[in-house]
């Protein structure tokens, strides 16, 4: 066996694994998959339907007419994949080398296909995690999920520490309570639960409380500060982004411990992410994307076998061949070491995989400014601040 690469391909929070993500063996095989370009991690969107109407939803504007252009380009939208089509895709994924399958939506628990897909994934020995809003985790559902031997866990999105704030984002009264109850039911059943805390203007004042809530309940969590433009091309979600001043205040306050230090080496080996290397996503309509956040279709599983798309797609070939110099704004940027380089945000903001998102760029600048302030403070004898994690990925515990 060839020695695994010494440098793991940087991974984004979208495919962080619940339960085993920090395991040393997982890190090693992720590096191997990255180097060998094996689609070890695949996100599969079972449906675009959702039972809540989040203001920031990246799929499409939930207050609009529907997902007309979401994930599918121009023309009438294609139907969502049938169960038969999903079963075929799962077999193709298995054959291509997939081990970790993230089932997402829309709301994954609103899909009638969920349990048949879990059954099939079990037969195929795929490790599954669910990404959910948690509101449909009724007692019977939680118990049924807990019975799956191949279930890694469930990532549950939370948008506030209080019902008022969370429900104002989901636009569904009672959703916070149902989400928290659903998470508790899973935990009680022994299922690994991780919260995804998405920071935006409506909840920016509750960041510390959200973290405290997760800690008190014993849930690991990821923090994401980047609300992106939607896959349907609408940009109303961007109004929810926190401002530079709010971000600076967070880094000086409740997120001090997560402030990037700026000591990451961003060289040719470290710059690419796992898109189209060890990771990809399949939309509810069968489009194959480099990752769940980047709706740049490399092909469609209705037209081609997955393995053929993975190996031969010009889109994936292009991504795999990119070098830092191909990112015109990033290559000379002095803030690279402070930047999350969120490909989804960049693609949705600029329409280009190698483009930029002004929010992400500004956030890197804010992080640098605050980190330099801290460094000057430390040099002057101020108390030390532990700064270690990048902007958008902040696992606790």
């Amino acid at each position: 066996m060839a020695a695994p690469p010494t440098e793991a391909g940087p991974r984004c929070s979208d495919d962080a694994l619940v339960g085993v993500g920090d395991h040393a063996v997982v890190s090693r095989i992720q590096s191997q998959a990255y180097a060998r370009m094996v689609p070890l991690n695949v996100s599969l969107e079972l449906t675009l339907k959702c039972n809540i109407r989040c203001l920031h939803c990246y799929n499409f504007d939930r207050d609009g007419d529907g997902p007309a252009s979401c994930s599918g380009g121009a023309g009438a939208p294609a139907p969502e994949l049938s169960l038969e089509e999903i079963f075929r895709v799962l077999s193709e994924l298995r054959a291509a080398g997939t081990l970790f399958l993230s089932l997402t939506g829309g709301e994954v628990l609103s899909s009638p296909h969920l349990f048949p897909v879990l059954d099939r994934a079990l037969e195929l020995n795929l490790a599954v995690q669910l990404l959910s809003n948690g509101t449909l985790l009724r007692p019977g559902v939680a118990a049924r999920l807990a019975g799956y031997r191949n279930l890694l866990g469930v990532s549950i999105s939370l948008y506030g520490a209080t019902p008022e704030v969370h429900d104002s984002v989901t636009q569904i009264r009672g959703s916070w309570r149902r989400t928290m109850d659903g998470a508790a039911r899973l935990k009680a059943q022994g299922v690994a639960v991780r919260l995804k805390l998405i920071v935006m203007r409506p909840n920016v004042h509750e960041v510390a409380a959200m973290r405290a809530l997760a800690d008190a309940a014993g849930y690991p969590y990821l923090l994401d500060l980047t609300v992106t433009a939607r896959h349907d091309g609408t940009r109303g979600s961007l109004a929810l982004r926190i401002t530079d001043d709010e971000l600076a205040a967070l880094y000086r306050g409740s997120l001090r411990d997560l402030l990037p230090r700026g000591d990451r080496v961003v060289d040719e080996a470290a710059f690419p992410c796992n898109c189209a290397r060890g990771n990809c996503a399949i939309s509810a309509r069968g489009d194959v994307f480099p990752c769940v956040s980047v709706p740049w279709a490399a092909g469609n599983v209705r037209a081609q076998p997955f393995g053929e798309i993975w190996r031969r797609s010009p889109v994936f070939q292009r991504i795999r061949g990119l070098e830092i110099a191909d990112y015109p704004a990033c290559a000379p940027c002095p803030d690279k070491a402070f930047c999350s380089r969120d490909r989804g945000a960049a693609y949705n903001a600029s329409g280009s995989y190698t483009g930029t998102d002004p929010f992400v760029c500004a956030a890197a600048g804010v992080a640098r400014t605050v980190a330099e302030e801290d460094a000057r403070g430390a040099a002057a004898g101020a108390s030390h601040v532990d700064v270690r994690l990048p902007l958008a990925v902040a696992g606790a515990r």
Binding site: M1, I29, R36, L99
Partner: protein
Amino acid sequence: MTYQRDLGLPFQTLDEETIVVDPRTREVHLLNDTAARIWELLAAAQSVDELTRALGEEYEAPADELRAGVEELLAGLGGKGLLAAAGTR
């Protein structure tokens, strides 16, 4: 006595190694190529004799060494909870 792997456990083969994930214990195990072959055979219930015989047809090694290796691996897999309950035939 026969042995069979826990058929519900996720696994995949990458670079001649097999990765076995146990979501319940949140442990991940790596099997080398010989162990991976035994893991593959354990899709159906197998006795130590049957496993040793099958490996003997594929690997050039003395039978007693193969048998000892099979027994050691089965003990390891069993200790980690990766086998279904042993059966009899």
